[in-house]
Amino acid sequence: MAKVPVQFTLNGSEKAEFVDSGTTLLHALRDKIGDTSPKGGCHQGSCGACSVIIDGELRLSCLTLAETCDGAVISTTSGLSDSGVLHPLQRAFLDTFATQCGFCTPGMIMAAKVLLDHTPNPSRDEVVEALSGNICRCTGYEPIIQAVLTVARSNSQNAA
């Protein structure tokens, strides 16, 4: 099958790859580019483990074809830490025990990040809604909600 060229910005660096037409972004990121932070849980759009941010919007990389991302700006959890210093969401997930097996964590963090980017001080209901497409089999969700609210509270304190 003919390969197609795809170029996009991933976590601030330019990437150019040849992929098989019809390759999902999840496959391209993990198996071609080597960013294994998005996880393949269900490949059906149901679990959210593959969530990434494309041009500022949360998307499911398992249902997105890589070719449709040509020219896009993509963020994944692997791009969040800065020179080894964890992003506040990553820190809060560790501190509140919001991660156990960790499989859902990169998707949860992307969903939380996109929420906080648009709504820095969300209500609990807004956090629950923002995470509603992401499944966690370990934590029972409460620590994850608390992690996001912790970051939100420190955002609002910093803004005050």
Binding site: S21, G22, T64, L65, T68
Partner: protein, 264 residues
Amino acid sequence: MALALQTFATVKDANAALKAAGTRYLGGGTLVVRAANEGDVSVSGLIRSTEPSLSTIAVAGGKVRIGASVTMAAIARHPDLGTLAKTARAVGGPAIRNMATVGGNLFAPAPYGDFAVALLALDATVSTDDGETPIETFLAKRDGSRAIVTSVGFTLPPQGGFRFLKVSRVKPKGVSVLSIATVLQQAPDGTVSSARIALGCMADRPVRASAAEKALLGRMLTADGIAPALAAASDGTSPITDPIASAWYRNEVLPVHLGRLLLA
């Protein structure tokens, strides 16, 4: 299985490419790419068009036209489409809503198709390059439809004239047990002068509750007034049975939820 994707600048060229066997149009991909991931080999080629009109929303003089590639998230945040925001937000979680298109929702089999239920109540028309089709006719014939849907159009009902309810077991996001949309008009004395009621999950695709619509005419929106409509709500339905609910259960709870929506 690899799927070749072809992208065309115009709907016309994309329609021509869709004539090839094994091809399917790609909207947001939430159903069609999922099917490919699950091993559906009936589709070998995906076709899409990037024509800008497919992604536009136009609201003027109470008339609305929504391009087929417009997503649920774009509808939910549009300042002039507040009436439909609740329906758009009822589709999937945030990531699904950023991908799921209006065009794809018209083809989504039950338990999906919540937005199409609203469009059916709104008596929308569905446009392709061949012209406009009333949504009811379109839905009935959709399995044989090959032409790209370019937009849907409808007239916004007066304030409060449109109601929507989705019943799901998982909150805040969950697949429908059923969904109901109504467009009602009331005479000055409060009696119902016209009614359109559309149901999701009560067949393999959105259907109208015609018997309930008739039974509402001339009635007040009170518990007594709506009783005949509720008694007729399940007439002619053939609900789906899936892991969410059985057909029997859906028929049992339909009058309860329709009653709540009508009395809301």
